[in-house]
Point group: C2
Chain length 304, copies 2
C-alpha cells in the first residue's frame, strides 16, 4: 500500500514515524507544512520540516517533541548574554541544521533538494518533501492585528485571540517536485494528527486537489489538542473544539476519519457525513503507540 501523509508539528511527526516503522520506505512520502518557516538571526528555519525529520531520524527530543535530543544551549546562552533575541530557543545541534539550510538556500538550492540531502545524512529512508519550494508564510489574524506565525506561536505564546489565517504566497506556490506525483500514486492520503488550521490547511492550499481516498486522524482528543493551539483556535473562531469539528473541517475531501476512543460519542454524527469512521487509541506516548496507531490507520485505509 502506497501512502502519502500530510504532516505539521509534533503529533504529525509521531504518526509519520509510526508509518515509517511499518511501510517500506519507497511506499511512504511525507509532505510537510512550511507555512511556519521563518527567518531568525539571519537563518532560514523550517520548524515542521525539522520536527518531522528529527523524529523520523530518532534525533528528536522526546521531552518536548521539537528540537534535538541531548541538546546543548551554549550558542543560545551567549546570544542572550550579548542581548540578542531570546524568544526563540535554538539548540547547538539544531543550529547546524539552520546554518546549513541557509547556506544551501543562498547557493540557490531548492528546499526540497536540501531536505533530500539532509534525509540522506540522517539516514531517513522514506521521502520527506516540503509542501513547496516557494516561501509561503502563515499569517495569524488576531485581535491585536496580523502576526507572523512564529511571532504568534512562540513569541506571543498563542495568547492573542485568533480571527483567521492567511497564507502569504500560497497563490503562486507550486507543490514541491514529487508532491503531486506522490499524491497521484498513493493508494491513500493520510492527514496526520496535526493542527487543521495551520499545519494541514496550508498544505491543502498548495496541493489544491487530492483525488485519492483521504483518511484524517483527529488531533483533538476529548475536546482538547494533545499539544499546541488547535483547540484554542477552534474556540476563538466560534467552533466547539472536538473530533467532530475536525471531521467537519475536512468534510469535503474526507473518506475515512480516525478519532480517539474517548470520542466515540461523535461516531454517529461523523457517519452521517458519509465518512467512514474508526475509533482507536490515538494518543502516542511512546514509539510502540506510534507503530500501533499507524497500523490501525493503515488497516482502516486499506478497508475503504
Amino acid at each position: 500500500m502506497k501512502i502519502t501523509a500530510l504532516a505539521g508539528g509534533v503529533g504529525g511527526a509521531k504518526l509519520a514515524h509510526g508509518l515509517s516503522l511499518i511501510l517500506p520506505p519507497e511506499d511512504l512520502t511525507v509532505i510537510v507544512n512550511t507555512g511556519d518557516d521563518f527567518e531568525h538571526l539571519g537563518l532560514n528555519i523550517s520548524p515542521d520540516l525539522d520536527t518531522v525529520c528529527y523524529t523520523l531520524a530518532g534525533l528528536a527530543n522526546p521531552e518536548t517533541g521539537w528540537g534535538r535530543v541531548n541538546e546543548s544551549w551554549n550558542a543560545f546562552a551567549n546570544i542572550e548574554k550579548l542581548g540578542g533575541p531570546a524568544w526563540f530557543r535554538l539548540g547547538d545541534r539544531d543550529l547546524a541544521t539552520h546554518l546549513e539550510r541557509t547556506r544551501r538556500l543562498k547557493e540557490g538550492k531548492p528546499l526540497s533538494q536540501i531536505t533530500k540531502e539532509f534525509c540522506e545524512a540522517w539516514n531517513i529512508n522514506p521521502t520527506v518533501l516540503p509542501m513547496t519550494d516557494s516561501p509561503v508564510r502563515t499569517m495569524v489574524e488576531t485581535e491585536e492585528g496580523e502576526l507572523a506565525f512564529q511571532e504568534y506561536f512562540v513569541h506571543r505564546r498563542c495568547e492573542p485571540r485568533v480571527k483567521g489565517f492567511r497564507f502569504d504566497g500560497v497563490d503562486v506556490a507550486e507543490p514541491a517536485p514529487g508532491a503531486k506525483e506522490a499524491l497521484q500514486s498513493a493508494d491513500a492520503v493520510i492527514f496526520c494528527p496535526s493542527n487543521p488550521w495551520v499545519s494541514i490547511d496550508p498544505i491543502l492550499r498548495v496541493v489544491k486537489q487530492i483525488n485519492k481516498p483521504v483518511v484524517a486522524v483527529s488531533p483533538i482528543i476529548g475536546g482538547e489538542a494533545v499539544k499546541g493551539p488547535a483547540a484554542k483556535m477552534y474556540r476563538e473562531l466560534g467552533i466547539e473544539p472536538s473530533a467532530l469539528a475536525v471531521a467537519e473541517h475536512y468534510r469535503t475531501i474526507l473518506k475515512g476519519f480516525v478519532l480517539d476512543n474517548a470520542d466515540r460519542a461523535f461516531i454517529e454524527q461523523v457517519e452521517s457525513m458519509k465518512v467512514k469512521i474508526r475509533a482507536a487509541d490515538t494518543l502516542m506516548k511512546n514509539v510502540e503507540d506510534r507503530a500501533r496507531l499507524a497500523q490501525d490507520v493503515l488497516h482502516f485505509a486499506g478497508s475503504l
Copy 2:
C-alpha cells in the same frame, strides 16, 4: 600615560590584555585588524576582533589563543555530519558572537558600534575599535594565485608560497569613529607583537599616519614567529625573518623597538636605524608574563 595599541591575532591580544591590567581603561584604546574578516556560512566573522575581545574578557581558550574557553562543538559536528564546510571550526559559544554580529550588521549597525556593545556585555573596559567599519579584505598573493586570507590561513594552512599582499577596499576605508582621535590623543602608540604583514600593515594602511611616538614589539623571537606565519612570510618574500627584519619593516615610523632578550645580537643594528631599543622577555606564557611585558613596554615608551 595614554596608550593606543594596534593589534591583530593571539600575540597582539595577549599584550593588549597585559596593557589592560596596568592602565586605567580610559587610557587604553586597542585598534584591531579587520583584514582577516570574512563571511562563512552566511556569518560575518571577525577573527582578530574576537581574539582580542575574548582575551580581554578572560573568555579566550588558553590552549589555542583563539576561540572560547570551555567551548563545545555540537553545532560544528552536526554541520560536518550534514556535509557542510568543515575547514573553519566554529565553537558553539563562539557562534553566538558571529550570529549576533551578523544580525546587527544586517540591521545597519556599524561594526564599531557592535564591538562597543559586545565589550559592554563582556565587561571589557578599555576601548576596542575595529580599524574601520568598511570591509577591508586581506588578499594573499601566492604562487597558486590570490587567496582570501582565511582561505590561505585556515583552509590552506599557510602552505602556498607568499608573493605579496593586497588589502581589498583599503583605499576607500575610513578609520572607525574614534580611531583617529585615539591616535592623536595618545602619548605613545604601541604595535603589539602581531604579524607585521597581515595584522599591523592593514591597520597602518587605513589610519595612514601616526604623529605620536611608535613603539613596536617584535613578534619574531630567535628568527621564528611565536605563532602564525610571519616568519614563513618573511622567508618567502626573500627576507631573513628576525627581530631586525621587523624593525626594518617599521623603520619609517619607529621611535622605539622592543625585542626579545634572545635577539640582543640585533641591538646595534637597530640602534643604527636611530631607533631606541629595549630588550625584554617577550614570550607571554601566562597572564603574569603579559602584565610584566606590558609594564616593560610602558616604562620604555615613557622614557622616549
